[in-house]
């Protein structure tokens, strides 16, 4: 029963795209219904961002414990209690998921458990767990159906139980002795980092010539060296040809340098990408434009069908939680009568490696590709007091500055707290700051942010704590 004058809004999917869109729509006076087939929080809270970071946090603690003697703190590392690691993961996840549930109530959002599909352009059929179906009509519909792990057509992957996707790798029954990771993207690299710290022998196989395609190449190469120095075996330009059982282990046949080599591991993580989870939606039947399940939208997050919006992973473009949420706010605002555009210029990319890795704006590679004139400012964290204290000064900050106007085109950070340091840099990109704006800002001592300013100074050949070439 529609309330007098209220716009009714349906949200399909309760991930960080959908639940944020729902809250924003409710704030703007919409009467909001959110339909979720599985768990509130979506991929992100249940099997994505959050659980990986909990594992990484425990893994980091273990790594720190092993290094404490040189800080004068004597500890004996007795081992990992894997069931407790898993319990911690569940506790954090559950707390956040029930937090989302509380936010739904606080914002008077109706949550329906079920699978939504389009019956017509403005009507959804919701199929509940018990098989019952209900048809519901809305003024506005926001699709936030997200994505699921893609299964590559590699012979043997489906047949071998030791081959898992990211969800499986978050819940291993025990820390595996060895793990082969297919795919050197963010998910593969983060899980490789976590398990390597837990003591697993890790091998990463990437088909392309470089890990982490969206990140700055120079810093990615530095990270790769650090990972290799910690014992992670990394192969690029290497194609997995097939997987087969080999006793209790699994054999992975990899084509690298023209030859096929066999690698054996207890577990195989398949992390070659994700596909949109849009099959159930019935997109084609109602004429919602999409490219093999990837929904097409404009900057207002509108699909080609009036009053239907789509956001987040189901667009099949930038698959990041904060992008889904940002797009969710935009879609909700437009659905409730505002007129706003999504602008991804300030979107940071973060990788929770050791040390952390983050970037925003253009990489050097991208600036070259676009033919934009630029200069580079670099500062090694070895010359930053706080980084020296925190991790021995490992890492680097790199600015990409426009040649003519000196605007901040991009910033790339490999180092402690990089994922939070990138906040300042994203604001700089968003505000069209120039290198002078960064320089004019006092950066506190002793912090890693000082190195952000130093890298900006370096672009002007006036860094203080390193000689300028």
């Amino acid at each position: 029963p529609k309330k007098e004058g209220k716009t009714t809004v349906a949200i399909i999917g309760g991930g960080p795209g959908g639940y944020v869109a729902a809250i924003r729509a409710a704030q703007l006076g919409g009467e909001v219904t959110l339909i979720e087939k599985n768990k509130l929080g979506g991929t992100c809270l249940n099997v994505g961002c959050i659980p990986t970071k909990v594992l990484l946090h425990s893994a980091e603690a273990l790594a720190e414990a092993k290094e404490m003697a040189q800080l004068g703190i004597n500890v004996e590392v007795k081992g990992i209690d894997w069931s407790k690691v898993q319990a911690k993961k569940s506790a954090v996840t559950n707390q956040l998921v029930s937090g989302v549930s509380g936010l739904m109530k606080a914002n008077k959002i109706k949550v329906i458990e079920g699978v939504a599909s389009f019956a017509s352009k403005d009507t959804l059929t919701v199929t509940k767990k018990d098989g019952s179906k209900e048809n519901l009509t809305f003024d506005k519909i926001i699709i936030a159906a997200g994505s699921v792990p893609a299964v590559p057509p590699i012979p043997g992957v489906k047949e071998n139980a030791s081959c898992v996707d990211s969800t499986g790798a978050l819940s291993f029954e025990a820390v595996p002795k060895s793990l082969l990771v297919i795919g050197g993207g963010v998910i593969g690299i983060e899980l490789a980092t976590a398990y390597s710290r837990f003591g697993t022998e890790v091998t990463v196989v990437e088909a392309m010539s470089k890990l982490l395609p969206m990140m700055d190449g120079e810093l990615t190469a530095q990270l790769r060296k650090m990972m290799e120095a910690r014992g992670i075996k990394i192969m690029t330009d290497a194609k997995v040809q097939s997987v087969e059982a080999s006793g209790t282990a699994t054999k992975v046949n990899v084509e690298v340098g023209g030859k096929v080599e066999a690698f054996t591991a207890e577990k195989v993580l398949v992390a070659v990408g994700r596909r949109t989870d849009t099959e159930a939606l019935n997109l084609d039947a109602v004429g919602i434009a999409n490219d093999r399940g990837r929904i097409s939208v404009n900057d207002k997050m509108e699909t080609n069908v009036a009053n239907v919006y789509a956001i987040g992973d189901c667009l099949g473009k930038v698959m990041l939680a904060h992008v889904a949420s940002a797009q969710g706010e935009i879609a909700a605002e437009n659905a409730l009568g505002e007129d706003v555009l999504y602008d991804g210029a300030t979107n940071p990319s973060c990788v929770y490696t050791d040390p952390e890795f983050a970037g925003v704006g253009l990489t050097e590679e991208k600036a070259k590709e676009l033919g934009i004139g630029f200069k580079v400012g670099k500062f090694p964290l070895m010359a930053n007091g706080k980084a020296l204290i925190m991790n021995g000064g490992v890492g680097m900050i790199k600015f990409i500055i426009g040649e003519e106007y000196k605007e901040v085109l991009g910033v790339h950070i490999l180092g402690p707290r990089a994922t939070d340091l990138i906040g300042e840099c994203a604001l700089a990109v968003g505000m069209e700051a120039t290198v002078e704006d960064i320089i004019a800002t006092i950066h506190a001592h002793p912090t890693v942010t000082e190195a952000v300013r130093e890298a900006a100074l370096a672009a002007e050949k006036r860094a203080i704590h390193i000689p300028n070439k």
């Binding site: 426009g402 106007y405 069209e432």
Partner: protein, 54 residues
């Protein structure tokens, strides 16, 4: 169109837009900003330069 002013009475314009306007000779005191809360950003200056009578 009148630009938005800041708390200090200055026109709200990004540093990049200000430099671009100086370079291109665009008087931004009559440019409408399209950035957050009406801040003039570079593309507003580029558009103004394009539309300016030659």
């Amino acid at each position: 169109a009148a630009p938005i002013v800041t708390a200090n009475g200055r026109i709200k314009i990004s540093p990049l837009a200000r430099k671009t306007a100086a370079k291109m000779g665009v008087d931004y005191s009559s440019v409408k900003g399209s950035g957050p809360a009406g801040r003039i950003v570079q593309k507003d200056i580029l558009a103004a330069a394009q539309n300016a009578p030659v």
